[in-house]
Symmetry: C2
Subunit: 234 residues, 2 copies
């Protein structure tokens, strides 16, 4: 059986920067499940037509097609219950909060910090689509969204609970990483792949966690191609 | 056996405004455990000497004395396992985040909004102590900390993940409230008891949750005395 993950790519096919796809790659690695990725561009809508929608991640697991990063976590826990990601029902209810914390607190701060870096890695054929959809969503131009010092200060504040938690534990989920860590870390991989900006200082407890997350699963994150590795791109 | 909770009070003995004590009152109600409270002032340090420290909440449960709101949650779950607050180990790891989210994201925003209201309810004999310790901690005067419009805008941002979660579920912990809800709601009771300020608009999903939390356990929060109920205080 082949397990396939459709994974957003940028100017270079090896440059994979979707925070949602990163969640899924960590989740698959956590389960020890082998998979192949298929590079996908924002405008390759017909490539995903079989999934009934037009966004990644899309996981094709034998006969099953699953979309949405959080739904993929649920699917993986159901079909491959070993090495649980979300945990029991009480833990799962709380995992939802980490999803929203990443998407509603961290991502808006990070995007201000790396907006133009992000736009720089979008593949040429996707740029018009990307600009149009994002500017419509933000109600502003990409250039207006880009405000790194404001973004970093917003991020600094948003990271406070993580900082406190990571002062007492190696991972958000305690001694070992699980769904909470992966749901949040996707946002950090997003920034790391598209930008050379330092989001946190190395004295920050969050920094140590980022380093540990990069090393997990054979250096999954650390070995990922970054824009700084693409010649002439940065 | 008498179960006693030492509970911070203000200008009126019935005005109980500590967010940490509110967490514990909700936790005790969640377990269906009867208790009495003892009003305590910030400067009544000798009253707590038996607990080995000088802050509330302090719960005396028969022979046991437990301090710190989160430790009290752990204690209650251990000794009274029915109606779990923190849940299994995986859920508990995530509960820690809600503690820090309330203390490091919500409380700093709320305090800017209600600082002078809060100072107004501090009992006369506690005022000098309160001002001195808080100003030392903030590195600013209370008057400088008080910045309601900045506080509300910071709170608006900090509430984003709660808003998203409460759009899909009645409580942070899902269909029924548990530790995550109580850990966070303490901050809302703190603001509610000392101030008439509206923290969220009634169109906000957080508003509906606050209403549900107020009604829980026989209207525990709704029936609490507020500064607006104390004649001449507001």
């Amino acid at each position: 059986m082949t397990r396939i993950l459709y994974d957003l790519c940028g100017i270079d096919e090896g440059l994979r920067f979707s925070p949602y796809c990163w969640r899924v790659k960590y989740a698959l690695a956590h389960k020890g499940l082998a998979y192949e990725t298929r590079p996908w561009h924002f405008t390759d809508k017909e490539m995903l037509a079989f999934s009934g929608q037009g966004k990644v991640p899309v996981l094709v697991d034998g006969e099953e097609t699953v979309v949405d990063s959080y739904e993929i976590f649920r699917y993986l826990d159901r079909v491959y219950p070993e090495a649980s990601l979300l945990g029991g029902a009480d833990a799962e209810a709380r995992a939802r909060f980490f999803k929203f914390y990443a998407e509603r607190n961290l991502a808006p701060a990070i995007i201000k910090t790396v907006m133009m870096d992000l736009f720089n890695v979008v593949a040429p054929q996707d740029r018009e689509y990307f600009r149009e959809t994002r500017e419509k969503a933000f109600g502003r131009t990409l250039e207006e969204v880009h405000a790194p010092s404001r973004g970093l200060s917003q991020l600094d504040q948003a990271l406070e609970p993580m900082r406190a938690r990571l002062e007492e534990a190696e991972f958000l989920d305690g001694q070992a990483p699980a769904a909470a860590d992966y749901l949040v870390f996707g946002a950090f991989m997003w920034a790391r792949t598209v930008s050379a900006a330092d989001l946190v200082s190395n004295a920050d407890p969050v920094y140590g966690w980022v380093e540990r997350m990069l090393d997990l699963h054979g250096g999954l994150g650390r070995n990922a191609k970054r824009v700084v590795d693409v010649e002439g791109a940065y």
